[in-house]
């Protein structure tokens, strides 16, 4: 008789993820995009070198994606813009993650009246037009990239708080926690060995899905002229510039727009794949 080896949650999830070709393709495309944006500007042409004689030129062998009206290489600018967009996506998501996980964990562990009050606050905040306040903040206090991180992070933590709190609440009541306690395991060991691994799945999934919505919000602000400031540039800024000049120079809109959409596609497919692989279901309580 063969002895069956146990499967851990993570190896199971990895196998399921590998079968999901869309998610896998999304993940690989993401790696390529990340590498290109991180390393690309080191090798490509300068993103800020102007060539006014050239002006806006269509894609060619020397400028793969063409140039903008100041004769700057669009390929280099798009990669460089990607750096900023992805950085904002990661940092602001991290801010949201820290706030959301802390808030949700405290509410879940506290339980009772404190939990009810904390979640009522989240419900009320959910109903508020936060994007409007982010816009006001950016208009009034200038287009500061650190403010951007914080403002976006402060908007996007609500769902994360709900998810973590729900997980903590349900895990707290599970029999295996009681069993662990009955076996005499220490509080620390229970938290690190049993609670955190079970909360981690949903957190990973929703982090993956928060990144695209954060990047969307950043691009949205940039499109309104409220995002990062020149000479910095992000995909949102490039799309805004492109949309203003698309009548004559279509490539200025089409390439940054495509790259941005591709990134969102990859992140969403990867996030959905992870959700299926880790078998996470959205629950509100």
């Amino acid at each position: 008789m063969e002895i069956e080896r146990g499967h851990s949650l993570w190896s199971d999830a990895w196998h399921r993820l590998q079968r999901n070709r869309l998610a896998l393709a999304g993940g690989m495309l993401l790696v390529v995009l990340l590498l290109a944006c991180a390393a690309g500007p080191l090798f490509s042409q300068s993103y800020e070198e102007q060539n006014l004689d050239l002006g806006a030129a269509p894609p060619s062998a020397s400028h793969w994606l063409g140039t903008d009206t100041l004769g700057r290489d669009l390929f280099a600018r798009t990669l460089y813009g990607g750096r900023i967009s992805i950085t904002v996506g990661l940092v602001a998501t991290f801010v949201a993650l820290v706030i959301g996980v802390t808030y949700g964990a405290v509410a879940g562990f506290a339980g009772g009246k404190i939990d009810a009050l904390m979640m009522r606050v989240v419900d009320i905040l959910y109903a508020l037009p936060f994007a409007i306040f982010v816009i006001l903040l950016m208009v009034f206090f200038g287009r500061n990239i650190f403010l951007l991180f914080f403002a976006i992070g402060a908007v996007e933590w609500l769902t994360m708080a709900r998810i973590v709190r729900g997980q903590v609440l349900s895990i707290k009541r599970m029999e295996f926690i009681e069993a662990a306690r009955a076996l005499g395991l220490g509080r620390r060991r229970i938290i690190f060995r049993h609670v955190i691994p079970n909360v981690l799945g949903p957190v990973i999934v929703y982090t993956t899905l928060t990144i695209p919505s954060v990047m969307l919000l950043e691009a949205f602000l940039s499109f309104l002229g409220l995002g990062v400031q020149a000479p910095m540039s992000s995909w949102g800024v490039l799309i805004k510039d492109g949309s203003e000049k698309m009548e004559e120079f279509w490539w200025l809109l089409v390439f940054p727009g495509t790259l941005f959409s591709l990134t969102l596609f990859s992140l969403n497919f990867l996030g959905d794949g992870l959700r299926d692989a880790l078998d996470v279901r959205a629950s509100k309580d």
Binding site: A127, P129, L136, V139, F220, F223, L224, G242, S261
Partner: protein, 305 residues
């Protein structure tokens, strides 16, 4: 039911008050005022201007005056359009944005619901995959990419639409499609998920067993239960359509309240910013309340808490 509604209405009062107060003081503490951008005026004129609008009085007095006039429904005079009141500007621009919003919501539901139901009923066939792909495109191509692309193709290349403006019915097509498509995508996904869950339940099998036609089973029995996720999404969707209108009105140069809001913030038009924020916040909170009521109506198992 009535108690629930009244209770929730009472809860919104402090929320709205906090929003008004926070916005009022936030605007006042930022650098720049409504008259700093204008051509250099002599200090004397500046003083007169400020006296005229009561800006020379202590801040708490201004705040009290503002809330008092607010209680009477008066949003005050605009600083940038000296002859007009904020009430007039809103009355002027709001219908345009409201029309855009309603049409976009119609696109979201009119496109999203059928796609979602179709995908769920024909699960794992090519129809399902096609519907899901259409939805994924909507989620991943943002409005500010889709909008200019639609203009590029349909207005500039084919010339079937105007690239901008808000005159005839034809000018409504591209903006409401652009704004509604994203939400149609989410609605389709949520409908599909909700329908799949409901279609596997016992009461659907009962309905089939008693000989109800498939169309009747889907539309009469399943849809009501399957709609819950969509209805709970309507709150965020309406909020999203409101903020999305800022971008859409910029892209298509529509004279709505969204563009006015962005301009007023840039111009430090204190009263106009406050007026629009109060309008938006009140509207979104009211819509969320309606959504909560609708959810209970759809699923009587939910108890009013």
């Amino acid at each position: 039911m009535l108690r629930f509604v009244v209770q929730r209405l009472l809860q919104t009062i402090p929320v709205i008050w906090v929003i008004i107060t926070a916005t009022f003081f936030m605007i006042r503490f930022v650098p720049g005022g409504p008259f700093t951008a204008e051509k250099a005026v002599t200090p004397e004129i500046m003083r007169n201007l400020e006296a005229h609008y009561g800006l020379n009085r202590p801040l708490y007095r201004q705040y009290l005056d503002y809330t008092w006039s607010l209680l009477r429904g008066d949003l005050g005079p605009s600083f940038k359009y000296p002859t007009r009141s904020v009430n007039e500007i809103i009355a002027d621009k709001l219908p345009v944005s409201a029309e855009l919003g309603i049409l976009s919501l119609a696109v979201a539901l009119g496109l999203g619901l059928p796609l979602g139901v179709l995908a769920a009923v024909r699960r794992n066939t090519w129809i399902d995959y096609a519907c899901s792909s259409v939805a994924m495109i909507g989620i991943c191509v943002p409005t500010f990419v889709l909008g200019p692309l639609l203009i590029l193709v349909f207005a500039i290349h084919f010339g079937s639409f105007n690239a901008s403006g808000w005159y005839g019915p034809i000018d409504r097509v591209l903006p409401s499609l652009t704004l509604g498509y994203v939400y149609a995508a989410y609605v389709a996904r949520l409908t599909r998920g909700g329908m799949l869950e409901v279609l596997s339940q016992d009461y659907i099998r009962t309905a089939r067993a008693k000989g109800a036609s498939e169309v009747r089973v889907v539309l009469k029995h399943a849809l009501r239960g399957g709609l819950s996720p969509v209805v709970s999404f309507l709150g965020p969707a309406i909020a999203g359509i409101v903020t999305g209108s800022f971008v859409i009105e910029t892209i298509y140069q529509i004279p709505g309240i969204g563009r006015e809001f962005i301009n007023s913030a840039t111009n430090r038009d204190y009263t106009l910013v406050l007026g629009t924020v109060i309008l938006y916040a009140g509207f979104i909170i009211a819509m969320n309340l309606l959504v909560d009521i609708a959810l209970v109506w759809l699923n009587p198992k939910l108890k009013f808490e």
